[in-house]
Symmetry: C2
Subunit: 345 residues, 2 copies
Amino acid sequence: MRRGCPYGTHRVIEPKGVLPQPALKIDNDMEIYDNEILIDVKTLNIDSASFTQIKEQAKGNIEEIKRIMRSIVDERGKHQNPVTGSGGMLIGTVEKIGPALEGKTDLKVGDKIATLVSLSLTPLRIDEILEVRPDVDQVDIKGKAILFESGIYAVLPDDLPENLALSVLDVAGAPAQTAKLVKPGDTVVVIGGTGKSGMLCLYEAKKRAGVTGKVICIGSRDETIARVKEANLADVYIKANATNAVEILEKVREATNGEMADLVINTVNIPNTEMSSILITKDGGTVYFFSMATSFTKAALGAEGVGKDVTMLIGNGYTKGHAAIALELMRESKELRRIFEELYA
Amino acid sequence: MRRGCPYGTHRVIEPKGVLPQPALKIDNDMEIYDNEILIDVKTLNIDSASFTQIKEQAKGNIEEIKRIMRSIVDERGKHQNPVTGSGGMLIGTVEKIGPALEGKTDLKVGDKIATLVSLSLTPLRIDEILEVRPDVDQVDIKGKAILFESGIYAVLPDDLPENLALSVLDVAGAPAQTAKLVKPGDTVVVIGGTGKSGMLCLYEAKKRAGVTGKVICIGSRDETIARVKEANLADVYIKANATNAVEILEKVREATNGEMADLVINTVNIPNTEMSSILITKDGGTVYFFSMATSFTKAALGAEGVGKDVTMLIGNGYTKGHAAIALELMRESKELRRIFEELYA
Ligand SMILES: NC(=O)c1ccc[n+]([C@@H]2O[C@H](COP(=O)([O-])OP(=O)(O)OC[C@H]3O[C@@H](n4cnc5c(N)ncnc54)[C@H](OP(=O)(O)O)[C@@H]3O)[C@@H](O)[C@H]2O)c1
Ligand SMILES: NC(=O)c1ccc[n+]([C@@H]2O[C@H](COP(=O)([O-])OP(=O)(O)OC[C@H]3O[C@@H](n4cnc5c(N)ncnc54)[C@H](OP(=O)(O)O)[C@@H]3O)[C@@H](O)[C@H]2O)c1
């Protein structure tokens, strides 16, 4: 059996010397190396920014969505959207474990797991697309995938429906980072607070900011705002277009009596929202960009352009314990669980 | 006289509702609004990532570089490279000050200043390109520019040559952020430590990390490494290709006895160096991406893909006092000053 590198560089076809994530093409042959895990895939959870782009390109046509997805995997050996660069994650059953991992992993053949590394670096083979659920970004397939030695995963819990766990784990990094960043008394704005990761961030932020803090939810639709309001996830609700920096600035100024936010969390799934995020942050405050539609240069030059001394964080999808933290929210909050079961499970 | 918005939104032609930086086209008519400053421009300092791209496109031909630069400004009303999205900065003389700024600004007509906001949002008119200095990314022109009310600037100091001040101010954010991030005893790697911003970061890092720390310089050429070594700016020097993550990982592992870095500062001017930066950072450490060639998704998904719990910062070009901090380095270090005068002044 062939020996593999922990990071999966042995599967990179081109360009040479890079890791599987930035690679243009990786080897998706399903014969495993000695330190790989073979997964029988059940469901893909496509990253929201990626799926939004694919749906637009396909004009909503399901067969066309399937065709685009297959052509991405044919071309790259992984489901990495060439426009957004992003992936998503998957759930499936452990089918084979490389002998070099014996004693190193807790996994057993037959375990149901979710991979917590992006599909944008995961070798994937799609044999058949069974069902596309465009509203929740989930796609059931027949197919196989490979988890590298350095790849992280979560065994699916017994007490939560699979699809619910999948949709929560997809964005697990966001609430876990929120938990680290919010201090009591903080004013926190979640741009895209009406979305999947946004709602988890709102809940976590409200818990941490406490009674002396203020948590503000920004969304663009009456319907989604009403849902979040009913569940009481924020203190203030703003309906506005996140790409309109001037509108967002004025509305947040009003909601904060001109003080602006200590922390802004950006969880939208559309481009051109960097300036809105920067302008509503206090000098010395922090912007946490979780959105995969964030442009590095727009953020860096935008902040400089208006002379804003703010800390801007790139939303690392991983932080220690993120899966456990995110799943626990489904047990902690009946309201969140109800919404997530309705929308995603 | 027309009234302007502090952020310059009154000059945005398209798309509407955005700020001048992300805008595709802004109005570069040199009739000022009541809160604007008109500058008689002397020299443009084109951002390194941008100029590298332009030089490549022009195959090094000076006339072609001029043509590309003029076509960018014709099309956008500002010098924003459509490929890299970045700008640069300029020096010139204050020619007119809008009446609404009276009592609000310390500037007087005739002051020589450097703008510290990016050219990617600065209304600019080029009347003539006088000289292109491709080695230092500087271009002398006849032309005018506008500084918005929120725009930051520095009055040029008397004791430093203009071109020297310009080249230091171009990257002023980098050493100022380094000063904030480095703690005594830290292991710090500067990828691109042989470059302009890189050398300033090395110097600042060595000062802060102190005798118990370790500062590592990575560059790709013998010549540039020899220069940095002679000036004793780092403790360890590594020659390697920053796009080859595996090579960088192995060399830094060796240099740090497997401990890796507390802080990695990325100041290269080429794409695809995110993974190198992430892999050589300790769990719990920080990556500071100053390079404008950084891809947001490659960084976010790359860290997740290898399960690295690192804080990743978007290099905000501005932080309080950055101009003063950077210029002071030219007075503090004879070595740095000598190199900078040789290379850039
Ligand atoms: N590793 C990572 O960092 C990582 C991992 C997973 C996902 N992500 C990214 O996180 C982002 C959010 O993912 P998600 O699953 O939470 O997406 P989602 O459920 O689709 O939520 C998107 C949010 O954006 C809001 N939005 C869209 N257009 C808007 C506009 N013009 N103005 C204001 N709000 C607008 C939506 O609000 P309305 O519905 O009210 O319009 C909604 O709240 C995506 O960009 C995704 O790529 C990152
Ligand atoms: N607001 C902001 O955040 C801001 C402001 C200004 C500039 N910047 C960005 O900062 C970056 C650096 O600017 P600068 O003026 O300091 O540029 P510079 O002087 O041209 O330095 C570039 C550095 O990259 C290194 N490099 C290039 N290719 C490499 C490779 N394959 N392997 C290893 N090292 C390599 C060079 O090393 P060798 O010469 O040894 O090859 C050099 O040290 C640029 O991307 C620029 O856009 C950002």
